[in-house]
């Protein structure tokens, strides 16, 4: 028997020894493009979560159709505690927007806990003539649907903000869809589109570099990162409140022990200083420990589904 054959057989035997000690990794599916706000949060969460759980954590991007493709992937995944979904507010709204949705955001998932809340900013292209919300209102009255607002796909946070904005202003702009927020921000930055309402995760660096103008923030209080920028609520759109909340979900049917372990891991990860630092850099607020629980996330989700249902009834917007 030649040496080569022997070596090959030895290798084969070695290779056939049963599986690796550490088991399969935990996959967090992010239903949006890589490099986007939700993706950034997931990746910042992955490392401390891996440490807390003692297993490898992998982030996978499955983007498209406003986050529904990734969500469906997880809804249909094996409920063995190895696949999770990290999604944002879009998870609650997709059920209203997509009439042919092949999953239900509440029924098909077992919530783990809230992860973060991110405020949104209403930004405009560098040449936008309006500098304050009042000026913007006048501009909207004059220009109407000649104004264009970008968004990252039907059902995305930026799309929802746009809807809420148009509803609050009783105006209608032309909605321009993009695959993800980065291309959307790019086109606003180079002046092809007039407006964008997007999470601070994305807009902060461009605002700081002066590449975008800003009209207001969607939170209830001014942001420490942008002290000079008024909230939309105080600047002329009273009651405007939109925080992009992010939650971690497992497929329905995941065994309770697995869920409990994941909840514990999440709570530990949220307490990590490295995560807090990363989140702070984007204006994201890590979820309170009270909210990093299945019940809290479940309640928030149900609430939001109701809230947006009402808004969409008024707007009668839907996707074919």
């Amino acid at each position: 028997m030649s040496l080569r054959t022997l070596a090959a057989l030895v290798l084969l035997l070695l290779a056939a020894t049963p599986a690796r000690a550490d088991g399969p990794p935990l996959t967090i599916v992010v239903p949006f493009a890589a490099g986007g706000p939700t993706d950034a949060l997931a990746r910042a969460l992955a490392a401390p979560l891996a440490e807390a759980l003692g297993r490898k954590v992998v982030v996978r991007n499955v983007d498209g159709a406003g986050g529904t493709i990734g969500a469906e992937r997880v809804a249909k995944a094996k409920p063995d505690g190895n696949t999770l979904l990290l999604s944002n507010i879009g998870h609650a709204t997709s059920v209203w927007l997509y009439t042919t949705l092949r999953y239900h955001p509440v029924e098909d998932f077992a919530p783990i806990g809230m992860v973060a809340e991110v405020p949104m900013t209403l930004v405009g292209k560098p040449g936008l003539t309006a500098r304050t919300v009042d000026e913007f209102k006048a501009l909207a009255r004059a220009e109407g649907n000649r104004l264009s607002i970008a968004h990252a796909g039907v059902g995305s946070a930026s799309y929802l903000c746009g809807l809420l904005l148009m509803d609050a202003m009783r105006a209608e702009f032309t909605s321009v869809p993009y695959r993800g927020t980065r291309p959307a921000v790019t086109d606003v930055m180079n002046g092809h589109v007039d407006l964008l309402c997007d999470q601070t995760t994305h807009t902060l660096p461009f605002l700081k570099a002066g590449r975008l103008t800003v009209l207001g923030v969607s939170a209830r209080a001014r942001l420490p990162e942008l002290p000079a920028v008024p909230t939309l609520d105080e600047a002329g759109l009273p009651g405007f409140d939109l925080m992009v909340w992010h939650g971690l979900y497992a497929p329905k049917g995941t065994p309770p022990e697995a869920v409990a372990a994941l909840v514990a891991g999440l709570r530990q990860a949220l307490a990590s200083p490295r995560l807090a630092e990363a989140f702070a850099g984007w204006g994201a607020r890590p979820a309170d420990l009270r909210d990093a629980r299945p019940e809290a996330l479940g309640a928030r989700l149900a609430d939001e589904v109701r809230r947006w249902g009402a808004i969409f009834q008024k707007a009668t917007v839907y996707v074919e």
Binding site: A34, R43, S148, V176, G281
Partner: protein, 499 residues
């Protein structure tokens, strides 16, 4: 001068012992991935992202960058050796590269690819160093209308690519466009041609089509004339390009580098488009266009230079503005974010060591790749000298596993098998797959941008002609189309006269 100080800082960072190691690891890994069909830089970088958290920012980005452009080198290796383009940018390299391999010139083709890539990488690095901000601003001028016109130009260029019948080339392009539309429409969210299969909701992966149409079809095709095939593949005539070869590749490499550098900065498939465009350009300006598709060395040199230049310049928008030009750049942004660095316009000024370190390391990486790849040529050439009936099952194995590992879906394997049948059928009918693949990649982008442009202009199509950059590209496309159609029309008239 400021520039020299910056470069000094950059090299200081790049040449630190650890960063050299990371660079080497990155390019080595990248080459390996490029060679393995299926697994690409996107998947690999995504897998390695968590590991980079522990590394200093410059080191992690240097390594990841190395993986990316290293994969371009590796992808062309399999394209040349076994007609399997691992990356979309290596598809055109396979056209002539593989033919050269069959003529016993594999070594010369591989060396040409490596040398052309190195030259292009060097030039691109210089461009990065000197012109990043203005080039990035140029990229910003491209809006939806400009992109649409660019894609149209790309499609017209792909007609030039085709060797055989014009009618079939056009049909294959349209077929590719249609295949590319499978999936969910971004503008409306409608699922198109997915037949309710969730695996098709994001469309068909490029790798699946490429493996099937190029890889499987090639294997089946080679099984037709087994006895004669082994005789057809001549023994290797020499590993190093001849003096004549060198003379021939100078201009193509220069042209490819220029084209690649420009197209790489444009978000949306710039590097891949660059390789196609470079190939078409070479074919157009060549004195013997008929040689293309049968082993013209220019057809290897230009696309390879273009795709490597494009890979490097695609870093420009990412580093200067935080805008990703392709999925790999988006992951790099992710890597920066994980490191706590906000990608955006201020990176260049806030983190000069990082910025210039990456720029300098790119040149170092290219050097490593050249040094790594040239000696390997001998190894590769000996590998393909293995009798084909022993080699092709191995190729098939790598295709199957590679495709599976994309999404961990056996459905993808079945799909690849289906494309294998399709590819073989087309092969028998003399319909070329390359235009189809280009249509496949460009189709969805073209449609998306056209609809977006019309949306922004409120349904006014003249915007395509009134915006200067867009207008220029459409004019070039039209001119190119005329030069392609005119000889065909003339030939038909001549044929008709003869009757």
């Amino acid at each position: 001068m400021d520039m020299l100080a910056n470069l000094a800082l950059g090299f200081q960072t790049a040449l630190s012992a650890w960063n050299l190691v990371y660079c080497l690891v990155g390019v080595f890994l990248g080459t390996a991935i490029g060679v393995l069909p299926g697994l690409g830089p996107v998947a690999t970088i995504a897998m390695l992202l968590p590991i980079t958290v522990g590394l200093p920012p410059a080191s992690s980005l240097i390594m990841l960058a190395g993986i990316y452009y290293g994969a371009q080198y590796g992808g062309s290796t399999t394209a040349i050796l076994v007609n399997l383009p691992g990356e979309s940018s290596s598809v055109v390299t396979a056209l002539d590269g593989y033919q050269m391999a069959r003529q016993g010139k594999a070594g010369r083709a591989l060396a040409t690819a490596a040398i052309g890539s190195f030259f292009a990488g060097t030039v691109a690095t210089v461009l990065l160093a000197l012109f990043s901000p203005p080039l990035a601003d140029l990229a910003l001028k491209f809006g939806p209308a400009e992109y649409f016109s660019l894609m149209v130009l790309g499609l017209v260029a792909s007609i030039v690519l085709a060797q055989g019948s014009l009618l079939h080339a056009l049909a294959m392009i349209v077929l590719g466009l249609l295949l590319g539309l499978i999936g969910t429409d971004v503008n409306s969210g409608t699922a198109r041609y997915t037949f309710d299969l969730p695996q098709l909701a994001d469309g068909i992966g490029f790798v699946i089509v490429a493996m099937g149409v190029f890889g499987l079809a090639e294997i089946i095709g080679n099984l037709e004339h087994e006895a004669t095939r082994t005789a057809m593949v001549k023994s290797v005539t020499g590993l190093w390009p001849t003096r004549e070869d060198f003379r021939r590749i100078v201009a193509p490499v220069l042209r490819g580098t220029a084209l690649g550098s420009l197209l790489g900065i444009l978000p949306g498939g710039g590097a891949m488009l660059a390789s196609f465009a470079a190939y078409s350009m070479e074919k157009k300006v060549s004195r013997n266009p008929r040689e293309f598709g049968k082993g013209a060395i220019e057809g290897v040199a230009a696309p390879e230079a273009a795709n490597n230049a494009g890979a490097q310049t695609s870093f420009i928008p990412m580093l200067t503005l935080g805008i990703p030009s392709n999925p790999v750049m988006a992951l790099m942004i992710g890597a920066m974010i994980i490191q706590g660095i906000q990608p955006g316009p201020s990176v260049m000024t806030d983190q000069p060591a990082l910025f210039w370190g990456i720029v300098a390391s790119m040149w170092v990486g290219n050097l490593f790749l050249l040094v790594l790849n040239l000696p390997l040529i001998g190894l590769w050439v000996r590998m393909i000298a293995v009798p084909y009936h022993l080699l092709y099952p191995a190729i098939l194995v790598f295709c199957a596993i590679g495709v599976f590992s994309l999404n961990n879906a056996t459905f993808d394997v079945f799909l690849m098998a289906g494309f294998g049948v399709l590819g073989y059928v087309f092969r028998k009918l003399d319909c070329e797959p390359a235009p189809m693949l280009l249509g496949f990649i460009l189709g969805p982008m073209m449609e998306e941008n056209l609809r977006r442009a019309l949306l922004i202009s409120k349904g006014d199509p003249t915007v395509l002609a009134t915006r200067p950059i867009s207008a220029v590209m459409l004019v070039i496309a039209a001119a190119l189309l005329v030069t392609v159609l005119a000889p065909a029309v003339r030939r038909k008239r001549e044929a008709a006269f003869q009757e």
